[in-house]
Amino acid sequence: MSWYKEADRTVTAANPIPSHRAYRLLVGAALRAQLQYRGNLLLTLASGIAYQSVGLAFVSVVVARFGSIGGWSLSQIAFLYGMRVTAHGMWTVPASELNWLDMTIRTGEFDRYLVRPAGPLLQLLCRRVYLATFGDLATGVIILAVAAPSAGMSMAPGPLAYLVLALVGGAMVEGAFQLGVASLSFRMVSNQSLRLLIASIMNNFGGYPLHIFPNVTRILLCFVLPVAFVAYLPATVLLDRTGDLSVAPWLAWGSPLAGPVLLFLAYLGWRRQIHHYTSTGT
C-alpha cells in the first residue's frame, strides 16, 4: 500500500520521527557542537582521567607500603576499581546530561522538550555530549585491561561474557539511582546535593573490597545504596573470591541482573514523576 509508505515519511505529531533516528540526529549535532573546541578536547579528557585515577593512586601507595588490603592484592583491587570506573563510564557517557535536568526545568529549557517531536528524556540526554566522560570510560577500560591478567581472571569466553554483563549491569545500577534522583527534580527546585552525594558515595566506596568495612556500612552499601552490585559482587565471582562474602554466593553470581531490574523501576518512577512537571514560566 503505497499511501501508507508515503505517510510514513511525513513527520507529524501522530507520526513522529522514530526515536533511534531522533537520537542519532541529536547526538550528532551535540557532538559537532562540542568538537568545535578542539584545543580543549585533550585537556577535558585528561581531567576525566585525573579525576578517576586519584583513588587508585591512593590505593597503590597504601598497598605498596602494606602489601594488601583485606587480603586483596594491588592487581585485584585495581581490577575491581577498573570495573567500577568502566561501569560508571558506560553510564555517564550517554547519560551525563541527566545532571542538568533541574537546571533545564528552572530555565524553561524543558518546556521546549515537551513540544518537540521526540521523547523529553531522549532530548535531555542529547542536549550536549560531555567529552570528559570519555576520559572516565577510557580510564576504566585501561585499568581493567592492565589489571585483569595479573588479578587472576580467566580469559576464557565464559568469564569474559560474564564481565561484559556485569559491566552493563553495573552501569544500570548507577543509572537507576541517577535517573531516580533526577526525576525528583519535577517536585524539588534543586536536588544537586542529593545527586552529588550518591555519586560521591559510589565513587568513593565502590572501588574497595567491601568486606573491609564494618557490618552496618556493608549492609548499607549492599542493600540500601547497592554499590556492591556495581563491581564488588561480580568481581568476587570473576576473581574466585566469593569466600570473602558474608552474603550467599548466588547473590554474587546473579548480581548483573540487579541493574536491569532497578533501571526499569527507575524508569517507571520517571514516568510517574514527569506528570508533576509544572513550567517555571521563565
Partner: protein
C-alpha cells in the same frame, strides 16, 4: 592653567596610604566572604562529602594496617594506627579549609570582563586576588570548625604531642593558610593564558591533594614520591603542620621552610603577574 577642573586634583590619587590600602584590601576580602556565604547549602553538602572521605580513609587505613597496630614511617618513627587515623582526619578537614574556596575567581573575572574594574582600582591586582581567596577561606572557617567534631567521630583525634607542639602547630597553620592562598592565586592566573581553565584546575586539584599529603602522609610514601613531595610547596600546607602537631617533625625547620616558601611564592606571583598584565584579554562585560 594649573587646574583643569575645579576641585579635582591634577595628580590622580593613585598612591593610597598604607592604612587606606589595608582598608581597601580588607573590603575586597569581606565582600568575597559574604558572597561565599550566600551558597551555604552547597557548603553544607560539601561538609557531608568531607565526613564521608574521612570515614572511608580511616576504614582503609584500619584494614591495611598490620595487626600489631603500629608501622614504621620513613624516618624509623613508629606510627600507631590511632596516630595515623588522627592524621587522616585532621588532614582532610585542613585541606578542605584551605582549598575549597574555589579557583574560579580570576577566570570568572576574565570571562565576564569585570577584571577591567579590578585593574583600574588603585590596588595591586595580585594582592586583591589574594584577599579574595582569603575572604573565601574565611567564609569556609566556621564550616570547618563545625565539621571537625563530626570528622573526629567519623575518624579519630589525638591531642598535640606537647603544649609546645600545639603552639607551633598554630603558627605553622597560619603560614600554611598564606602558602595555600599564594598557590591558589598563582594557579588561577592561568586564566590569562587560556580561556578554558576548568580542566587544568581539576588536574591541579589532584596533584595538590596527593603531594600535600592529605591522602597519604609523607611518612608512608615510597621514597621517590616523598622526595618529590618534599621539594614541592604543597606539603607545607597540610602534611608539615600536622607532622609538627603529632610530634613527628621538629617545628623549627618546618616553620623556616614555610617562611621561605611564602617569600618565594610571593616573588613568583609578582613575576607571573608582570607577564600576565600584557596578556589581559577582556571577553565581555
Amino acid at each position: 592653567m594649573s587646574r583643569l577642573i575645579p576641585g579635582v586634583p591634577t595628580t590622580p590619587p593613585l598612591a593610597l596610604t598604607a592604612r587606606q590600602r589595608l582598608a581597601a584590601y580588607w573590603g575586597v576580602g569581606v565582600m568575597q566572604c559574604r558572597t561565599q556565604l550566600l551558597y551555604r547549602g552547597d557548603l553544607l553538602f560539601r561538609l557531608f562529602g568531607v565526613l564521608l572521605q574521612v570515614y572511608l580513609l580511616s576504614l582503609v587505613w584500619e584494614a591495611a594496617y598490620p595487626a600489631s597496630g603500629t608501622a614504621a614511617g620513613h624516618n624509623g618513627h613508629r606510627i600507631a594506627l590511632s596516630t595515623q587515623i588522627a592524621y587522616v582526619t585532621f588532614a582532610v578537614v585542613q585541606n578542605w579549609l584551605l582549598n575549597s574556596g574555589g579557583m574560579n575567581f580570576i577566570p570568572h573575572r576574565v570571562r565576564e570582563g569585570s577584571v577591567a574594574v579590578d585593574l583600574i582600582r588603585p590596588m595591586r591586582f595580585p594582592t586583591q586576588m589574594l584577599w579574595v581567596h582569603a575572604g573565601a577561606t574565611a567564609a569556609q572557617t566556621p564550616f570547618a570548625l563545625v565539621a571537625l567534631p563530626f570528622a573526629v567521630l567519623a575518624g579519630g583525634a589525638q591531642a598535640p604531642a606537647s603544649a609546645v607542639a600545639g603552639v607551633c602547630y598554630a603558627v605553622s597553620l597560619a603560614l600554611a593558610v598564606v602558602i595555600a592562598l599564594l598557590i591558589n592565586t598563582l594557579v588561577s592566573m592561568v586564566a590569562f593564558w587560556t580561556t578554558e581553565s576548568t580542566g587544568i584546575f581539576v588536574m591541579y586539584r589532584f596533584v595538590q591533594q596527593f603531594l600535600s599529603g592529605s591522602l597519604v602522609p609523607l611518612w608512608f610514601m615510597p621514597n621517590w614520591l616523598r622526595v618529590l613531595a618534599e621539594w614541592m610547596p604543597f606539603q607545607t600546607t597540610t602534611y608539615a603542620p600536622l607532622a609538627v602537631y603529632l610530634g613527628q617533625a621538629r617545628a623549627a625547620p618546618v616553620i623556616g621552610l614555610q617562611m621561605v616558601w611564602c617569600v618565594a611564592l610571593f616573588g613568583v606571583l609578582r613575576a607571573v603577574w608582570a607577564r600576565a598584565l600584557n596578556r589581559v584579554v577582556v571577553q565581555g562585560g
